[in-house]
């Protein structure tokens, strides 16, 4: 096996087994005598599309439902991460000093976590009805759990629950049930506690710093991923929409606009969501196949 052959073979192995790997390698070697970046990029993108299900032919409505499913799963991960933070007594000082109520709120958060995880597993396995029931039931439970901090709709990550509930209800009308392993989504809950704006910075000091950097990385990766799969930036945009809603509601309810700094902050929060939606639209329009 030549050096060029070995390099292409490594890339072809990225494809799932159902793809004709040997034939792809044979073709790429017939087309190219040397290793070319253009071919390598196309092979990586093709393999990623095959692995993520982006290679499936979808009509505009099928695409919308598939993107809604991914967005709902991402929002459920966000909501579950928020629940973990509220259910686990990380805020030791608050536990010690609080006169009452803290334990009850933690129990309610645990209930919300169970409902969010149920919705997540059900949705990833294609059980849309169970997912919708669990996600809708989680809405009042998560709202009560968030009352611990006062106004729930102004809390970081609160809007993940209502948006996820809305999308799971919409998905009841999906003509096709997509299925995937729930393991990825369940594992994603743990890093989401620190990476997404869950309010973990109050208990875990470095979270403030990590979140700022990671959100930027998340947007960059999602923008790049739009070349492979236009559904992913839409799912990440749904996560950002939660922050936008939180920001707008806080301003609306408090009626305080500040000296322009608050409006600028809102614009900065909105910008990634707009960029992600634009990238997804462009990717869908300019798709080669």
């Amino acid at each position: 096996m030549t050096r060029v052959e070995r390099r292409y073979a490594r890339l072809v192995r990225l494809y799932p087994a159902r793809y004709p790997r040997e034939e792809i390698l044979d073709t790429v070697l017939q087309v190219n005598g040397a290793f070319r970046v253009r071919e390598a990029t196309a092979l990586i993108a093709g393999a990623m599309r095959a692995r993520t299900g982006a290679d499936v032919q979808r009509t505009p409505s099928e695409f919308a439902f598939s993107a809604a499913r991914l967005a709902a799963l991402a929002l459920l991960v966000y909501a579950a991460a928020k629940d973990v933070l509220e259910a686990v007594p990380l805020d030791v000082r608050a536990v010690v000093t609080a006169p009452d109520g803290l334990v009850q709120f933690a129990v309610v958060s645990l209930c919300a976590l169970v409902l969010h995880l149920t919705a997540m597993v059900a949705l990833s396995r294609g059980a849309h009805r169970l997912a919708a029931i669990a996600a809708v039931l989680a809405l009042p439970v998560a709202t009560v759990a968030q009352w611990r901090h006062g106004m729930p709709w102004g809390a970081d990550g609160y809007w993940a629950t209502p948006l996820a509930a809305l999308l799971t209800v919409v998905l009841l009308f999906a003509p096709r049930r997509e299925r995937s392993s729930p393991l990825f989504w369940l594992l994603a809950v743990v890093p989401a506690i620190v990476v997404l704006p869950t309010g973990s910075g109050q208990y875990l000091g470095p979270s403030w710093f990590i979140q700022q950097q990671m959100l930027l990385i998340l947007v960059t990766v999602a923008l790049l991923w739009s070349f492979v799969d236009a559904r992913v930036p839409l799912a990440v945009a749904a996560v950002f929409a939660c922050n936008v809603l939180t920001g707008f509601l806080v301003v609306l309810i408090s009626g305080y606009l500040g000296d322009g700094a608050i409006l600028l902050g809102l614009a900065i929060t909105t910008l990634p969501a707009i960029a992600l939606v634009a990238a997804a639209t462009l990717s869908r329009r300019r798709s080669l196949i």
Binding site: P20, I24, T27, V28, R38, A42, G46, D55, V56, L288
Partner: protein
Amino acid sequence: MRETTYFILAALQDGPLHGYAIIQRASELSTGRIRLATGTLYTALERLTGTGLIRVVDEQIVNGRARRSYELTPTGGAALKDHAEQLAAAARVVTERRVTRTVVRPA
């Protein structure tokens, strides 16, 4: 139908071809405009097979590797013809344009 998909289907209208031959034929038919990368081709072939527009017709072992040939299905042929007619109709809007001039005479 995207232009790339159109030329992949068009490449198969004269008979079954394997991956490399499809790339070559699509490039010829598009006068070099469509230069398919292998990764792009196989994503397209997978989609087109999934939607029933093409099918695998033959598999041979060449240099120790499997090489499959693809052909248009009747559905694929019909879809290709429909799209070609749409393109031709769109082209006629420009190529068979009648120039009508309204002459405005002074009162």
